[in-house]
């Protein structure tokens, strides 16, 4: 066992090494201040280490090592675009860099859309109250150094401020061109009181990526967020979603992940105003050398809020699924309703599911529960279908889809949910 002080020093040394020779991007007053503060946080926390309790089940090495392992797109069918049926405003990023030509004009009624690389040059921008601010808050109780690294060095990303009800969804489309691109993206989304937006994200991003999204929801604001993560096999990625919810605000976020060598999706949600609602869900299917980690922290910091976490993972051929989820209920947050479920379906003996579903509760008048299960396809259900003449492969597929459907049900928009379901089915069919 390495002494604790020595581990801290090792992590700090790793940060110094990583920072060595890297200069913070040039920018205006607000961005420079935010970046400098983030760099200081990174120096203080150090780089993540496999020895951190917080990285117990996922080795962060590939996310931080100096060279990017090449990630080749094997199956072009895997990169088929999603949400094409949806009337949306498209913003395209190639290898994590904004591509204005491939994008629609950034026009959405009631919304102000700018690119981080432009806004960071100005001395004053509304995003300064959010950029790096929510990320900094997210460093307690547990440090997330990859997010600070992102705040300090990201130059790409979109800054969206919505005042009314956005008439069309905004879609962020991620494309790849090189096999060794290393992308840093940082988005900021601010919904003023009563505003509404549907945000779609789709695509393989880059061979390696580190993405931070900071979301600030004013009173009664509603954000629907649907994300389909890159389906290429070899990419590695870490994402952080930091969301602050005002009174009566609603956040619904769903993530679909299929393959990828390593994915760590962190979500940090603060229910700061009373009567807020946060639903966060994920479905993932992994095959072979696949490691998928959902790490979620929901903090009830005001009374009468509701939170729901629903995570489903289908794993086969040595794939590893990780779920670390925590509900923290502050003393003030009476009448909290917190729910969390994480389930995995292991299709082969060598698949793994590692979970740490936590509750930390300081208020007495609450209803909080969590559940976690792991197992193979239910023999009775399988027998039932076989007895009715359903062929073996189809029966298996039906049960896998039924298992994942509980997470897809978390999506309010039925058309979008149906598209994801079709997509998933096609994906599973190609693989069986």
């Amino acid at each position: 066992m390495i002494p604790r002080a020595k581990l801290v020093q090792q992590k700090r040394d790793a940060a110094v090494t990583w920072l060595d020779g890297r200069a913070l991007p040039e920018g205006g007053v607000w961005a420079t201040k935010a970046r400098k503060a983030a760099e200081d946080r990174l120096r203080d926390m150090g780089m993540p280490s496999k020895r951190d309790e917080y990285w117990r089940y996922t080795d962060p090495r590939r996310l931080t090592e100096s060279t990017v392992q090449p990630a080749v797109l094997h199956d072009t069918g895997d990169a088929l675009p999603l949400f094409d049926r949806v009337d949306r405003v498209k913003l395209v990023f190639v290898d994590g860099v904004f591509d204005a030509e491939a994008s629609d004009a950034p026009e959405l009624a009631g919304a102000e859309i700018s690119q981080l690389r432009d806004a960071a040059r100005s001395d004053l921008h509304w995003a300064r109250d959010i950029y790096g601010v929510l990320e900094a808050r997210g460093q307690t109780p547990i440090s997330r150094p990859l997010a600070s690294l992102n705040t300090a060095f990201a130059t790409n990303g979109v800054l969206i401020r919505v005042a009314g009800k956005a008439p069309r969804p905004l879609a962020l489309i991620y494309r790849r061109s090189q096999d060794t691109a290393d992308a840093l993206m940082h988005h900021v989304i601010r919904l003023d009181a009563g505003a509404e937006l549907t945000l779609l994200e789709d695509g393989p991003v880059a061979a390696r990526y580190n993405q931070v999204t900071e979301i600030d929801l004013g009173e009664g604001a509603v954000l629907n967020h649907i994300r389909a993560q890159g389906r290429d096999h070899e990419r590695v990625g870490a994402t952080h979603l930091f969301a602050r919810l005002g009174a009566k605000a609603q956040l619904k976020s769903f993530t679909l992940s299929a393959n990828g060598a390593l994915t760590r999706n962190e979500a940090v949600i603060w229910l700061d105003g009373s009567d807020g609602t946060a639903h966060i869900a994920g479905a993932c299917v992994g095959d072979g050398a696949f490691h998928h980690d959902d790490t979620v922290f929901v903090n009830h910091a005001a009374p009468r809020c509701e939170s729901r976490q629903v995570y489903k993972k289908v794993l086969r051929h040595g794939a590893v699924g990780v779920f670390q989820g925590k509900i923290l209920v502050d003393q003030i947050a009476q009448l909290t309703d917190g729910y969390q479920i994480s389930q995995s379906l292991l299709l082969n003996e060598d698949a793994q599911f590692l979970a740490k579903p936590e509750l930390e509760i300081y208020a007495d008048d609450v209803k909080c529960s969590h559940g976690s299960t792991s197992g193979e396809i239910d023999a009775n259900q399988f027998f039932y279908l076989r007895a009715r003449g359903v062929p073996e492969a189809q029966a298996r597929m039906l049960l896998v889809l039924a298992f994942l459907a509980e997470a897809l049900d978390e999506i309010d928009d039925h058309a979008l949910a149906a598209e994801l379901r079709d997509h998933l089915e096609a994906w599973l069919n190609r693989r069986t």
Binding site: M1, P3, R4, E53, Q331, Q334, S344, L346, L347, N348, E349, D350, A351, Q352, F353, L354, A355, K356, P357, E358, L359, E360, I361, Y362, A363, D364, D365, V366, K367, C368, S369, H370, G371, S372, T373, S374, G375, E376
Partner: protein, 503 residues
């Protein structure tokens, strides 16, 4: 408390229980001190103290070396910081590591020779050290149930009852210091084989300085003719207690073992770091029940025992079974995770726990179920109750190794909060490394149900009684797993521990 009318007794709570609760009502019942002349080793911890303890126990060389090895490893280790506990810094040099009543200088030949003051202590605690007695309040069907007791007072064992009768069955039940003298080969073979010296910080400390504890050996095919029990009493001030218990159940044997603990009420905190090792061989079954009632500190959080305990059972062979049941009501700080290593195919581990934390108590307790063999099964039922300013954490690990195919775990942890200044936390680790195993974990947190309280209050109970009744109902699944005499004590304790938590 208002006396209960006969008609208001709920199923499963008999009049006797209620009366016991009433008679015990008030504060910590076992907080008095026995005034007796003690012999202490010098304060502080170093290799000489380790040597002294070993010498006092007349130990062979290998055991001294084993202790010194543990001590040297302990020096390189750090106190664990991962539990949700605020542990004030402990000055290990400000403790006594060995305390023995002067009257025990000459080892008494039997319990009849033991200093009457010491015997009185146990009588006052309700622990029968006379063989004809059974534990208070329990009426057996025809003949009274016998319980053999090993009484440990600070660092030494006073004596063990029913030795002859147990010996006739081939069962060895004695203090570990006696076992070192009389059965060195067994001690050498099994000591540290379940919890190695460097297992963790507190286990290393215990391995270096353990003074006494119980040793149990059940030969193959023997069903232990009575329940075995050890009662630990900390009496001396500034003295740590480091007992070591070793239970070996040979093929096809069966034993039920009970453990109880109390300490005087003092302003200063006291350290207790115990290790319990259980070896369970083919088809054997061990049931280990604990009612832990160390002094929890006063209502302002002053004093109390720091309880840092490592308990582990190793189901080494096929179809071995172990069952931990614990009622944790005492101690200022509890750090305790009785575990099961399910090595043998088809072996089984069970863990039933009630942890109550009131006032300023902190508890971080749970279990580990490590599934290594095929078709192994485990079951965890944990009930945590927090009141006052207390913090109560369930921490558990369920690990299904790749070879532990077709295994099964079910975990249920429920937390109950009484008042808005306490905390209830759940930290389970679930590691599934094969597909054919099935793991289920459920946890809930809620407050004492207002409707249930209202119902009780309407029927004339005062608030505290009503809460005690509701809480006893909440704990019932665990209480019913306890041996009868413990279940009663536990029910009473549940009520007492929560006193002052409402209103």
């Amino acid at each position: 408390m208002v006396a209960l009318d006969e008609t208001q007794l709920r199923d499963g709570v008999d009049r006797e229980t209620v009366e016991t609760v009433q008679s015990m009502a008030g504060t910590y019942k076992h907080g008095w001190e026995t005034e007796i002349e003690m012999e202490f080793a010098p304060k502080g911890l170093n290799e000489d103290i380790v040597r002294l303890i070993s010498k006092k126990n007349n130990e062979p060389e290998w055991l001294l070396e084993w202790r010194l090895d543990a001590y040297r490893r302990w020096l390189t280790m750090e106190s664990p910081d991962w539990a949700m506990l605020k542990i004030p810094e402990i000055d290990y040099q400000e403790q006594y590591y060995y305390a023995k009543p002067k009257s025990m200088e000459e080892k008494p030949k039997s319990l009849d020779d033991v200093d009457p003051k010491l015997l009185e202590t146990y009588a006052k605690l309700g622990i029968p050290l006379k063989e004809q007695m059974v534990l208070a309040g329990v009426e057996g069907a025809d003949e009274p149930r016998k319980v053999a007791v090993d009484a440990v007072f600070d660092s030494v064992s006073l004596g063990t009852t029913f030795k002859k009768e147990l010996a006739a069955a081939g069962v060895i039940f004695c203090s570990i210091s006696e076992a070192v003298q009389d059965h060195p080969e067994l001690v050498k073979k099994y000591l540290g084989s379940v919890v190695p010296q460097n297992d963790n910080y507190f286990a290393a400390l215990n391995s270096a300085v353990f003074s006494d504890g119980s040793f149990v050996y059940i030969p193959a095919g023997v069903r232990c003719p009575m329940e075995l029990s050890t009662y630990f009493r900390i009496n001396a001030e500034n003295t740590g207690q480091f007992e070591r218990t070793l239970i070996v159940a040979e093929k096809g044997s069966h034993v039920s073992y009970l453990e109880g603990c109390t300490a005087p009420k003092r302003d200063t905190t006291q350290l207790h770091a115990a290790v319990v090792e259980i070896v369970v061989l083919e088809d054997a079954e061990v049931k280990y029940s604990t009612v832990q009632n160390w002094f929890p500190g006063d209502e302002n959080g002053k004093g109390g025992i720091y309880n840092f305990v490592t308990k582990r059972a190793d189901c080494r062979e096929a179809r071995a079974k172990v069952m931990w049941t614990q009622v944790e009501t005492g101690s200022a700080i509890t750090w305790k995770y009785p575990s099961c290593i399910l090595r043998g195919d088809d072996s089984q581990g069970e863990f039933y726990s009630i942890a109550i934390a009131n006032n300023w108590q902190q508890a971080d307790t749970g279990t580990k179920m490590v599934h290594l063999g095929k078709n192994t099964r485990s079951r965890i039922v944990s009930k945590g109750i927090s009141a006052g300013h207390a913090q109560n954490t369930y921490r558990g690990l369920v690990s299904m190794h790749p070879k532990a195919t077709s295994s099964r775990n079910y975990t249920q942890c429920d937390s109950l909060l009484i008042g808005d200044k306490c905390g209830a936390h759940t930290v389970p680790y679930i590691e599934v490394r094969n597909a054919s195993s099935r793991v289920e974990h459920e946890a809930t947190t809620s407050k004492v149900d207002d409707d249930q309280l209202f119902y009780c209050r309407q029927r004339g109970m005062d608030e505290e009684e009503a809460v005690a009744l509701v809480v006893n109902g909440f704990c019932r699944e665990v209480l019913q797993e306890l041996p009868m005499e413990f279940a009663m004590e536990a029910q009473a304790l549940v009520a007492i521990s929560l006193e002052g938590s409402v209103g």
